[in-house]
């Protein structure tokens, strides 16, 4: 069978066997959670509580500030012990609300016990999406509701759920699709109603046959199509997924809405489905803890704000000496240098590589092999972009489309000279955007 996909891309080893068939476990309540006010792209939320205050699980503790922002909810019940800058996955200190658990996990009475999708209008759903604190849970953490306010004159025809999970090692979305199929479908139907979209699609790489069959069974009679996708990275990159699913090309520099499409992660849909079903906003998520440096790899549902250290301890601790600790997948996840980093809404996993796996990279000049050119899904020339960036030739870099790079990492993965192309490109991109801001 000819499977749908996009052009170019790479085939890194999946390494998903360790956890792909392990049911999601529930992490015991942590003693303390650290909830950064900035877990999403956009303005940080504003605290509604003060130090010393008692809070209950699910209680709104910070309010969205502006359109591109979301509220934040307490993920455990207990006492607010601090509101102060704390270590964050970005490597910086970011203001966070710290809650010490009282061990009771008492659910806030302000929460409804659920919602009936039939009785909700599109506008009510959009409001609920926002009230649930939903952001893109695949990693980007873009506030979800914003996507459902398209610019005037644009109509959302398709809502596509991203179940590709193309990042190696990660299996949390896979497990959600198998175990929480109904919540995902409910979430998708709600998204479709909010957008007044005619059709829903769920793209899944074919290395998850159990997910595909569970979803296929669940969507019988619904205007939802399950799309098996070729196993290739970055199949879950938004525009690549849209192209694979619909053959529509989102113009460079434009948002998916230009192609009449909105994309959400399956985890985000599951979170919305859960909110509708039982009224619980986004205060926990499923992550994959894996890698050769973890003793007992697993998929585990954790309360937001749980520290990486607690999750690693629950997974049996390190296996041997850890070499690199990554939040998310190996292609795009940031490496961490401490363990008191909280799990956030967009954190999809913890990957621990062993010391032996961490290759000491000596970076050499480009030999112009063209392998990056054959890999770049955006049809850019990463070798030139890297060299322009290295020598600060920003005008040339921009002319060659550096701002269209989505930083998927395919070029860097494939480079035989081990050039840090993405790092160079990122640096140049931020210089370019900074200078644009300056000149207005």
């Amino acid at each position: 069978m000819h499977l749908r996909t996009f052009r170019k891309g790479i085939h890194p080893p999946g390494n998903k066997e360790k956890t792909s068939s392990l049911p999601v476990e529930i992490l015991p309540l942590p003693k303390q959670v650290v909830l950064p006010l900035s877990q999403h792209i956009g303005a940080p939320s504003e605290p509604l509580v003060s130090v010393g205050e008692q809070v209950m699980t699910g209680q709104k503790i910070a309010e969205a500030k502006g359109m591109v922002s979301v509220p934040l909810h307490a993920s455990i019940s207990g006492k607010v012990v601090a509101i102060e800058p704390r270590p964050h996955a970005s490597g910086k200190l970011v203001p966070a609300i710290v809650i010490e658990s009282d061990g009771t996990d008492q659910i806030s009475p302000e929460l409804a016990s659920g919602y009936n999708l039939e009785q909700l209008s599109a506008d009510q759903i959009k409001d609920l999406i926002r009230q649930a604190g939903l952001v893109g849970m695949g990693g980007a953490a873009f506030p979800t509701h914003v996507k459902y306010f398209p610019p005037k004159g644009k109509q959302i025809e398709y809502v596509i759920l991203n179940g590709a999970e193309c990042e190696p090692y990660l299996t949390c979305d896979h497990r959600l699709m198998v175990e929480r199929t109904d919540e995902i479908i409910l979430g998708l139907l709600a998204f479709m109603k909010a957008a007044n979209a005619e059709k829903g699609m769920i793209g899944v790489e074919v290395n998850k046959p159990d997910a595909i069959s569970a979803l296929t069974k669940a969507v019988e009679g619904l205007p939802i199509e399950i799309i098996p996708l070729q196993v290739k990275y970055p199949q879950g990159e938004e525009k690549m997924l849209i192209y694979a699913a619909t053959r529509r090309v989102v113009p460079a520099g434009a948002l998916p809405i230009e192609a009449g499409v909105v994309v959400n992660n399956v985890a985000t849909a599951a979170a919305l489905g859960g909110y509708l079903k039982n009224g619980r906003p986004l205060y926990s998520r499923v992550i994959t803890v894996t890698g050769n440096g973890i003793k007992h790899p697993k998929n585990v549902e954790v309360r937001l704000g749980t520290l990486v250290e607690d999750v690693i301890n629950y997974s049996g601790g390190f296996d041997g000496t850890p070499g690199r600790i990554i939040l998310g997948g190996p292609m795009t996840g940031p490496a961490q240098y401490r363990l008191d980093i909280p799990i956030m809404k967009g954190t999809s996993g913890i990957l621990v590589q062993t010391r032996a796996e961490v290759e000491k990279l000596e970076y050499a000049p480009c030999v112009r092999c063209g392998k990056c050119v054959d890999a770049c899904p955006y049809n850019l020339l990463p070798n030139y972009l890297g060299t322009f960036a290295e020598f600060d030739k920003l005008a040339e870099a921009e002319k060659y489309g550096i701002l269209d790079c989505r930083e998927c990492g395919s070029c860097t993965y494939i480079c035989p000279s081990r050039r840090p192309l993405i790092q160079l490109i990122k640096n140049a991109k931020s210089k370019i955007t900074a200078s644009k801001k300056k000149t207005g």
């Binding site: 052009r7 790479i10 890194p12 080893p13 190696p168 525009k239 192209y243 090309v249 113009p251 460079a252 520099g253 434009a254 250290e309 000496t321 850890p322 070499g323 690199r324 600790i325 990554i326 190996p330 292609m331 996840g333 940031p334 490496a335 961490q336 240098y337 401490r338 363990l339 961490v358 990279l361 050499a364 000049p365 480009c366 030999v367 112009r368 092999c369 063209g370 392998k371 050119v373 054959d374 899904p377 955006y378 049809n379 850019l380 020339l381 030139y384 060659y400 489309g401 269209d404 990492g409 860097t412 993965y413 494939i414 480079c415 035989p416 000279s417 081990r418 840090p420 993405i422 990122k426």
Partner: protein, 318 residues
């Protein structure tokens, strides 16, 4: 608390196993059949030429890098490949100082003078050969037929013993059996005569995706078309001379050829066009070396002219 030091680096945190070093190793492996064929046809002197050439290339690279106080990157294998390639494209009769001087020139003035691996505009091995031909033309055109390889021509054997297959064509002497051209027991450069051995290596490189099919396909395809247009025998032109070696091992050199797919195809076509022009009308019977060097000049332009359309690129003025 984290009790050990961990590595903090930018993603991606996994890399494909293929390194430049490994690529060069695979190229050397792919050239072994051709080198063995050369030694088989032309004897131990051929082996001595190969060893001198590789050794000289390595030594020159080390000396220059030390002299410039730069890290000695001999391990990347590129100098060894240059030395090996140069040995394969010079006559098997040359005295041993010829490959030594040629390789030293190729590395020093063909590569390091431009900044080393990745920066040289011309294929270093071809630069080495061009330098040798210009400096010692008589030594570089002294050919020898392997033992018992002239049966096809009968009693005129003495008259042709100093020419290559392409040279003979110029003198109007035809009739080398195709089987002999394929196997390679004919006169020619040390490692270029056995199309069979070279193709074996080429297939290996294609399977491992070390080289892009577009350049050899464009090159060989154009040679066939040009030969037909010129009223020549296409198969003869494919098998005789250095075409197979050039198309698969020289014109595919990463550093000196385009990175875009379209650019590579055009590069190959250009090589084929120039090769046949030189063979038919040029001052030399063979044109592979100069045609590739000439096309090397166009590489930056070809890259610039063939920048692919970005995904989702919209035409701005039309």
């Amino acid at each position: 608390m984290l009790e050990t030091e961990v590595v903090v680096s930018a993603p991606p945190h996994i890399r494909h196993g293929l390194t430049t070093e490994r690529i060069m190793q695979l190229v050397v492996i792919a050239l072994i059949p051709a080198a063995l064929a050369g030694v088989g046809f032309f004897g131990w002197h051929a082996l001595a030429i190969i060893i001198s050439s590789v050794f000289s290339a390595l030594l020159t690279e080390v000396l220059i890098l030390k002299l410039m106080k730069r890290p000695v990157t001999i391990k990347d294998g590129s100098a060894a490949v240059t030395g090996l390639l140069l040995a394969l494209i010079i006559p098997p009769t040359v005295p041993l100082w010829i490959p030594v001087v040629g390789s030293a020139f190729a590395i020093a003035l063909g590569k390091q003078v431009f900044g080393g691996l990745g920066y040289n505009p011309f294929n270093p091995a071809l630069i080495g050969r061009a330098f040798l031909v210009a400096s010692w033309p008589s030594l570089m055109t002294k050919w020898r037929w392997p033992l018992n390889s002239l049966a096809w021509i009968g009693d005129r054997a003495d008259a042709v013993s100093g020419a290559t297959a392409l040279g003979l064509l110029r003198d109007g002497i035809k009739g080398i059996p195709y089987k002999q051209l394929l196997i390679g027991n004919i006169s020619g450069s040390l490692g270029e005569t056995s199309a069979l051995a070279l193709l074996l290596g080429a297939i290996f490189l294609l399977i491992y995706k070390i080289i892009d099919w577009r350049i050899p396909a464009g090159y060989l395809g154009t040679v066939v078309i040009m030969a037909l247009l010129m009223g020549e025998e296409p198969l003869f032109h494919l098998l005789a001379g250095g075409l197979i070696l050039g198309a698969f091992f020289m014109a595919t050199d990463y550093v000196t050829t385009p990175v875009t797919t379209k650019g590579r195809l055009i590069f190959g076509i250009g090589c084929g066009f120039l090769t046949m022009l030189i063979r038919k009308y040029g001052g030399f019977p063979e044109g592979v070396c100069y045609s590739i060097l000439l096309m090397n000049i166009t590489t930056p332009l070809l890259d610039r002219w063939t920048v692919p359309k970005k995904f989702g690129e919209v035409k701005t003025n039309g």
